[in-house]
Amino acid sequence: MRNSAINTKIQLSSAAPDLTRQPNNQKVRTPTPNNKKNSVKNKRKNLKDRLKIFRVGFGIDTPLLIFTLALVIIGLIMMFSASYVFAYAQQGDSYYYLERQSIFAIVGVIVMIAVSYFDYKKLAQTRIFNRFGIPISIVLLAILLLVIVLIVGKDSEGVSRWIRLGPLSFQPSEIAKFALILFLADYTSKKAKKMDNFKTGVLVPLILVVAFCALLVLEPHYSCTIIIIMLAAIMLFLGGVKIRYFIFMAGLLGVAIIVVNFTVGFNYFAERLGGWGNTLEFESYQQWQDTWQTRNSLYAIGSGGIWGLGLGQSRQKYLYLPEPQNDFVFSIVCEELGFVGSTIIILLFAILVWRGITVSMRAEDLFGRILGTGIMAQIGLQVILNLFVITDSLPNTGISLPFFSYGGTSILMLLFQMGIVLSISRNSFSEKV
């Protein structure tokens, strides 16, 4: 039954998009408009409706699920292949990273499936204590955690990014990213018609973005700051903010950068660039040391050639490429699987983003569309930034590769967000069925 339904959906999605909007709301939106007697009953039913947070809809979008699971599995395999030498050298256990990542991936997949059964619309509709919507609550939670991490999270290098809870630790910045997407999706969909207004479209969101960015700069966590800014820009762009306001905000960002540069010290950003663009030649020990990781990433990628050295055959992972389980996992993928293999994986990411966005765009409400697109844009953005970093096209700032890089919070949050997109997918194409 379900299979046939899915097949139909796929056919429809590619064949006749205009049909998708056709017979609206038959199942979803129509509470039977009965007579007055039923008003109490209706009220109860409304309450029941409100409490009914699970929703199967028309079933999830199977291709999206398959792409996601495929990337999770390939990611695990490649992360293991890239990391076992380093894991053995660092932890004395080749499976150290694989074991931990696998647990998070399994939990993440369960969470994803579970979340897909929730009705994403409740995220916008539900109010806590009848007052705060969930989006603003999560924003407040994120801010709280970002403040907490500044207080308790300092690590050996003076950076505070992690909050430790017993054996586990997580990054509040991951929650911040989601909070931003959720809030702006909610905000822009509710205020859709006022979004070209400066106050609504720019000022209010800007307060949130500045708050997040300030806290992230204090950590410091520049890569996440950059992602937050870019995500905010995408969300506001989708939300309908006028183009000229973007120019204004870009100017503001420029001023902010200059201010930071001068307050923290001259050439601060230049130093952060750490020899970027001059990776293969080096003059000083410092520079040689700074560009070590990127240089060895390039060596790894270049060594792969067209067909790669074969799975498990990377040489650069033999301690030349530091921490190959993290941001630079894809360098080892390139080395082992070559241009062909790495292109296939990149295309898989692209198809995932494509599918996620197109499926989201078929959601029945504006909130779902913007939320799904935002989530998928975030994933796409991270993939692209990561790949630009490992190919030395951008400075080495520390952006992980979704589903591939080691990190529990990261993969959990990613799969949770994929769960939301899948939930949205249950509501897509509703018109056509």
Binding site: P17, D18, R21, V85, K154, D155, S156, E157, G158, A192, K193, F237, L238, G240, L280, Y285, W288, N296, L298, Y299, A300, I301, G302, S303, G304, G305, I306, Q313, R315, Q316, Y318, L319, Y320, P322, C334, F339, S342, T343, I346, L347, F349, A350, V353, W354, I357, T358, M361, L366, R369, I370, T373, A377, G380, L381, V383, I384, L387, F388, T391, S393
Partner: protein, 781 residues
């Protein structure tokens, strides 16, 4: 797809939905397009890196991953003829620093300070090295395992030792970290040359340099053979240099060097060196001494000793302490370095082949051979000596060492008297052409070609403007071996020819070359270069020389039972090397034994003896006799004694312990010894000399009968510089036995003792046998 998406939006725009939704469609399309374009850009970038730049990046990566690990070939050993190790390579370690991995000055300071201490290095030098931007600086070579282990322990402890010098983070941990610390100091296996006998045969063996390359001696001559071929491994390694499990490892095995088996016999070499050292001390020899022993039938050098040599384990150390101290006193740095270098070069020099000397009277055997061979003289030809001789009309008179003249002598007597006038007469008989002919025939005009580096050329007369152009006065002095120079190796080769029936042989020191498994790769064959003179001639000479060594001027080289044939030589070196204002002399003795069936030839020569008697017979002959007396028994040559010799020969003491005193006395007188009884006991509990020990015929045996008496000792008196009768008288006073074994059986001149086997002042038991050496103190050329 993009177009479709676009149409999508357009269609919707037309149909229903207004404002925000249509804007969302548009903008989503823009976002999606940008993302997809960026994905394509990423793929393009990766494609560029992998396909266009792939090769060069991979090359860089491989450069980084692949290390060429050299496998040092083990240098071959050098063995004596019996397989005794004379030179060997042992595993040592080189310490290599990768200064590029040093993180900062705190680390540098700590490492330099401690490494300098462990490796005994100059701190400033090491500091300089530690600042190089290099992965590979060899800071110390050839440390042993203990030092290597100490270095590795130190490296492992660096982190703990210096982490407290760094600020702490919030958790109280040190902020110090250096992930490359493991690659900072590496040890590399190498080999070091080791010479177990130290300053032994060193001028022959030579030594190696810091890269295991031969610099002198056999190490230099046979460097190619000994050094082998280094192998290498091309392998991928991780950053710590640990091999990674990949299959493209390439290995070229090292081929260990071949080993040399010398013809030199360690025992004979030791015997020679011992007597040279003693001779140098006894005769205050200023300019080193040489002994060469040759197997007369093969040309194999059995011993080649040069004293005033060095320890090849530490060749740069100047062995002459006095000289070394004098050099250190030189203030000027350049002059001191120059003096040090000169002293080093001098001690490295193989005097046996690299330095020429004037052969003096030893050359008379060649003159004699030439005259016999040419039929100019027979053994009955007589020569008259009046104490001096005018070799040709108009020449000045040239004196004989015996100013009174030797009178009329036959050939044998002329040789035994080492009579210069007789030899000037022989020179005249020979003429210049024949003289030069036999000079060449005996191999003095060309290098012998021995397999050792640095062989010198002779210096012969060029008076007439060409090599061999002798004047008549040259002929006169040349006939008794003056005014031309040859090398010791040439002399011993010529002497071997006289011993072996006239064959000039190719001398050599390497008997065999073995591969690393011990298989023989090459064996040196005996090469007869030419017949210098006939066997008839040489057999006559052997007889004359034996007479000379028994009764003549060469009798200090006599060894009872071993039929020595010998000739002394004393020559003016025509220089004053030590700067004492007295012309230097060279005292030499050359001969062979046994005369009736020659086995070995031996040349002993002392350069510049500063003792009062600098003559060959007094300086070189005793050393020659000493060497022969030990070498021939070792070589298994049976002693054949004449009646006279037997009378003087030592016998051995029998056992008398356990007998009653009376029994013992009877037995002792039966055995032909005198007896002295010590103590009050009834039975003999000890005796000197002990059972089986040597005792001269008719010597005294001391019997001890109780414990108290066994403590009686006597202090050995000085027994040197005495005549035989005086030695016997003094020894009798002390109840000591005197062995004079090896003394010439008859002598024309006065014999004086010159050494005693137990030093004056030593406490010994009565009855102890002391070996006394005598020599004739005549001043004979």
């Amino acid at each position: 797809m993009n177009n479709k998406e676009l149409n999508n939006g357009n269609v919707k725009k037309k149909k229903h939905i207004k404002g925000p939704k249509i804007r969302l469609w548009h903008r989503t399309f823009v976002v999606l397009s940008v993302i997809m374009i960026l994905f394509l850009a990423v793929i393009a970038r990766i494609g560029y890196l992998q396909i266009v730049q792939g090769e060069s990046l991979q090359k860089s990566a491989i450069n980084q991953q692949v290390r060429e690990l050299e496998i040092s070939a083990k240098r071959g050993s050098i063995y004596d003829t019996n397989g005794e190790v004379l030179a060997q390579s042992a595993t040592v370690w080189n310490i290599i620093l990768a200064p590029i991995y040093i993180k900062d000055d705190i680390e540098r300071e700590y490492i330099v300070e401690n490494l300098a201490k462990i490796l005994d290095l100059d701190k400033d030098d090491l500091m300089e090295n530690s600042k190089k931007k290099s992965y590979y600086v060899t800071i110390k070579r050839g440390v042993n395992k203990d030092v290597k282990d100490e270095v590795l322990t130190f490296v492992n402890g660096i982190k703990d030792a210096i982490k407290d010098s760094y600020p702490k983070n919030s958790k109280g941990d040190s902020t110090y970290s250096n992930t490359n610390i493991g690659s900072l100091i590496v040890t590399e296996e190498a080999y070091e040359r080791y010479y177990p006998y130290q300053d032994f045969a060193s001028v022959v063996l030579g030594f190696t340099g810091s890269d295991d390359q031969g610099l002198y001696g056999l190490e230099y001559q046979y460097d190619d053979v000994l050094s082998g071929v280094n192998g290498k491994i091309l392998t991928t390694t991780d950053t710590h240099g640990v091999q990674t499990p990949f299959s493209y490892e390439q290995k070229v095995e090292a081929i260990d060097g071949y080993s040399l088996v010398l013809s030199i016999d360690e025992t004979l070499q030791h015997i020679c060196e011992k007597y040279l050292e003693q001779g140098i001390i006894d005769n205050k020899v200023a300019n080193r001494a040489v002994a060469i022993m040759m197997d007369v039938n093969t040309g194999a050098v059995l011993a080649m000793a040069v004293k005033g040599d060095y320890d090849p384990n530490n060749p740069y150390k100047i062995m002459d302490e006095e000289l070394a101290a004098k050099i250190e006193e030189i203030k000027n740095d350049d002059e001191r370095a120059e003096a040090r270098y000169a002293a080093q070069s001098a001690q490295w020099r193989n005097k046996a082949i690299s330095d020429v000397y004037i052969p003096g009277s030893v050359y008379k055997v060649v003159t004699t051979s030439a005259c016999l061979e040419e039929g100019l003289v027979t053994k009955d030809t007589t020569f008259t000596c009046s104490g001096s001789y005018v070799p040709f009309p108009g020449s000045a008179s040239i004196g004989c060492h015996n100013r009174n003249g030797h009178g009329t002598q036959n050939l044998k007597q002329a040789l035994s008297n080492s009579c210069n006038p007789a030899y000037m007469q022989m020179g005249n008989l020979l003429g210049v052409d024949n003289f030069f002919k036999y000079y060449k025939a005996f191999g003095f005009s060309s290098k012998t070609g021995i397999d050792l580096p640095g062989e010198a050329k002779d210096i012969f007369f060029t008076t007439l403007g060409y090599y061999g152009g002798m004047s008549l006065s040259d002929l006169a002095v040349g006939s008794f071996g003056q005014n031309f120079s040859i090398t010791p190796i040439q002399m011993i080769t010529a002497m071997s020819a006289i011993a072996n029936g006239g064959k000039i042989l190719q001398p050599y020191v390497v008997r065999q070359i073995l591969d690393s498994d011990g298989n023989v790769v090459k064996t040196t064959e005996t090469v007869v270069k030419r017949q210098a003179v006939s066997e008839n001639t040489t057999s006559q000479l052997a007889e004359m020389m034996q007479y000379n060594a028994t009764y003549g001027t060469a009798k200090n080289g006599y060894v009872a039972g071993y039929r020595v044939a010998g000739k002394t030589g004393t020559s003016e070196a025509k220089r004053d090397a030590n700067g004492d204002g007295i012309k230097d002399y060279i005292a030499s003795y050359c001969g062979f034994a046994p005369a009736d069936d020659p086995k070995i030839a031996l040349l002993v020569y002392f350069d510049t003896p500063l003792s009062a008697n600098y003559y060959g017979s007094a300086v070189a002959a005793p050393a020659f006799a000493g060497i022969i007396s030990e070498a021939l028994p070792y070589l298994g040559v049976e002693a054949k004694y004449t009646e006279e010799e037997l009378a003087l020969l030592d016998t051995v003491a029998n056992n008398y312990i356990g007998m009653s005193v009376a029994q013992a006395k009877n037995k002792i007188s039966e055995d032909g010894f005198a007896v002295i009884v010590k103590g009050e006991g009834a039975n003999v509990i000890d005796q000197v000399p002990a059972n089986g020990e040597k005792i001269p015929k008719g010597g005294t045996i001391v019997l001890y009968t109780d414990e108290v008496s066994t403590d009686d000792t006597v202090v050995v008196p000085n027994l040197t510089n005495m005549t035989l009768s005086n030695v016997n008288r003094v020894a009798a006073l002390y109840n000591l036995n005197i062995s004079i074994s090896g003394m010439p059986s008859s002598s024309s001149g006065e014999l004086l003792s010159y050494s005693q086997s137990i030093e004056e002042g030593t406490s010994v038991k009565e009855g102890t046998v002391i070996l006394i050496s005598f020599k004739e103190n005549d001043e004979v050329m």
